[in-house]
């Protein structure tokens, strides 16, 4: 029959029983609001962990010289000199899965500027390093290929270093600081990254061309490590394999030999942490989902009582010409209206609660758009599913008995 008429009839019936309609809705409201809030909290913690990992560079791969036996004595990794500049060059030239490669050499010591000094380490890196570690130069500029070839005594300093050496609010760019008596000209200041999840200050860094550190500070020809970034996080595994095979070939290792280097990626960490948060999200969503089902049962319960209570009304409607399908539709529309309206209020309440949690408890939250659509869809289905039985019961009433029902 006429859909809009049935809609009006259903709306009118709900309006006649505002308080009951609201109580029925309450179950759905709470159900949806909790689904949204729980998902927002779950997704929020997942996002925050992911962003911490990706700040470290989620597709970063570290290559360190590996342990090796020398005459039965295991050697410390830092003493090893297995990684050479040739390895760096072959990775740059041969590796298909890498977006960037940078050698790594470092030395610790005291930095001095004027009357101030600060202990830290100076790291010699290549041009790709900033990209790999997701660092940006806030003030000044980075060193160039020319600086690397010339072993120029230039450096980029982190925020912590800048704050401790340049206490008078001077602009560090262009000034010369000394590291173990070697003067370095500051050409840029890095944008602050704060502390990482392990509590390390990521701003206490000084970067310089690796050639400068090799020749002028350490006087070595090997490199202490390599930092690489895979093209995407998913390609990390392929990149790791490729690096291993290139380096084994370079180092002329036989099949039986152990690697004399160590390739590590952040992927294991990332996978482990996201699977934990995924589990938490699923758990939270399950709890919230149960409350949604309870809300649905509430709808069924009230609708069922309502059908019994309105038996005479149903009988009358049938006697003036409502068909079974009209009655069925009316009650289904009522159930769906309750659940959808409850759903809308629930979504608003859920989003509100999520932000409340964010501001009051400072938990990270993230509202996935799909979680809103999901709970909305689930609501509608809940309405139809739980409204069906009472509606069917109403439609199957015998008009003769219904009209005289006491």
């Amino acid at each position: 029959m006429n859909g809009s008429n049935l809609f009006k009839i259903a709306l009118k019936a709900l309006n006649n029983n505002k308080f009951r309609t609201f109580l029925t809705m309450l179950g759905i409201i709470i159900g949806v609001a909790s689904v949204i809030t729980m998902l927002a909290i779950g997704q929020g913690s997942k996002k925050s962990i992911q962003s911490q990992i990706s700040e470290m560079g989620s597709n970063m791969i570290m290559i360190m010289p590996g342990n090796m036996e020398r005459g039965g004595v295991r050697q410390g990794a830092s003493d090893m000199q297995t990684l050479k500049l040739e390895d760096y060059k072959s990775l740059v030239n041969e590796c298909k899965y890498l977006a960037g490669v940078s050698p790594n050499v470092s030395s610790s010591g005291q930095f001095i500027y004027g009357a101030n000094n600060y202990p830290s380490s100076i790291t010699g890196v290549g041009e790709d390093y900033l990209k790999i570690r997701q660092l940006t130069v806030e003030n000044g500029e980075t060193f160039t290929q020319h600086d690397i070839q010339a072993s120029a005594k230039v450096c980029l300093i982190g925020k912590t270093i800048a704050d401790n050496l340049f206490t008078g609010g001077e602009d560090p760019v262009g000034k010369v600081i000394r590291f173990n008596k070697i003067p370095f000209k500051v050409i840029g200041v890095l944008k602050s990254k704060g502390y990482n999840s392990m509590g390390q200050d990521q701003d206490a860094v000084v970067l310089s061309p690796y050639t400068t550190i090799q020749k002028r500070v350490l006087a070595i020809t090997h490199i202490q490590g390599l930092f690489c970034s895979a093209l995407t996080e998913d390609m990390t595994d392929n990149a790791t394999k490729e690096i291993t095979s290139i380096l084994r070939h370079n180092h002329k290792l036989k099949d039986a030999d152990e690697d004399d280097f160590d390739v590590r990626s952040q992927k294991e960490l990332s996978t482990m942490l996201s699977s934990t948060t995924d589990l938490m999200t699923i758990l939270l969503a399950c709890i919230a989902g149960i409350s949604l089902i309870v809300g649905g049962i509430g709808i069924m319960n009230i609708m069922y009582v309502s059908v019994t209570e309105r038996t005479r009304e149903i009988g009358l409607r049938m006697s003036v010409g409502a068909r079974g399908i009209d009655i069925l539709s009316q009650f289904l529309i009522e159930a769906v209206l309750i659940s959808i309206t409850g759903g809308i209020i629930g979504v608003i309440l859920g989003i509100g609660t999520s932000y409340g949690v964010k501001f009051l408890a400072s938990w990270p939250i993230f509202i996935q758009p799909w979680s809103v659509f999901l709970s909305f869809g689930v609501c509608t289905i809940t309405g139809i599913f739980f409204g069906w039985y009472p509606a069917k019961k109403a439609a199957d009433l015998d008009p003769i008995e219904a009209i005289r029902y006491e």
Binding site: N2, E313, M318, S319, V320, G321, I400, I403
Partner: protein
């Protein structure tokens, strides 16, 4: 008077199976009702008049026999088809009014038209107002059902029965819940509708009402035992005017 009958019953039988017993509610009822008649169907309880009313109202179908309503064979119709037939051709008036609670007079009257998709909202409202004016409630359109007296509620119910221009109005003990004076007022209304050309069937167990109708059918044990035309129809209006004296 039109020669085509509005209602034609031909040897209608209706039996119910209750447990192991078979109850014969109607054992072969035949009569025709023509346009413009005002018929009472009377009988004691158990005479089969309720069953007959349900059949006439297309709420039920006979076990055997033929029922033609305005030329349409009802017996073979599906439930949903009968619902549509009721919607277009029949107006019901019940003993207990059966108005929708918390709903205005006008919305109650509009109800049958809500189930007729051919009628627009504006047309529906207009027809409902016309029907309410006809029953003398032109000034109470927006009153809710719980703000009205029994007589007023029954008038709303009559307006609801009129609103779809039915071929027949079926009244089931329509004065049963009302006091004497209000009952007469309602009877006056029915007589006015009858004069205006409506066909009305009034089912009752109250023999008094028969005097005001044009034809009386009496049922007993599932048979028609009497079917006579009332030559001397009393005016309900006069009876109403004479009422204070009757009361003493």
């Amino acid at each position: 008077m039109n020669k085509e009958p509005i209602i034609e019953l031909n040897n209608i039988k209706r039996k119910f199976i209750v447990g192991e017993e078979t109850v014969h509610a109607l054992r072969g009822v035949s009569f025709s009702i023509y346009e413009g008649e005002f018929v009472t169907i009377m009988g004691t309880s158990g005479s089969g008049k309720s069953t007959l009313l349900n059949l006439l109202g297309c709420l039920d179908t006979p076990t055997s026999g033929e029922y033609l309503l305005d030329g349409v064979k009802v017996r073979e119709m599906e439930k949903a088809e009968r619902a549509v037939l009721r919607n277009r051709k029949i107006g019901f008036v019940f003993q207990s009014y059966n108005l929708l609670p918390k709903t205005t007079a006008i919305e109650n009257v509009e109800l049958p038209l809500m189930y007729n998709p051919g009628i627009s909202a504006a047309k529906r409202r207009e027809k409902a107002i016309q029907a309410l004016i006809k029953v003398g409630l032109g000034d109470r359109l927006q009153h809710k059902s719980n703000q009205m007296s029994g007589g007023q509620m029954q008038r709303v119910a009559i307006a609801r029965a009129l609103v779809n221009d039915p071929v027949i109005i079926l009244a089931d003990e329509a004065t049963g819940n009302l006091d004497t004076r209000t009952s007469f007022e309602i009877l006056v209304l029915f007589q006015e509708l009858h004069k205006a050309g409506r066909t009305i069937i009034f089912v009752t167990h109250n023999p008094e009402i028969a005097q005001f109708c044009s034809r009386n059918i009496i049922l007993r044990d599932g048979h028609v035992v009497e079917d006579r035309v009332n030559e001397k129809v009393l005016s309900a209006k006069e009876a109403l005017d004479a009422l204070p004296i009757e009361k003493e």
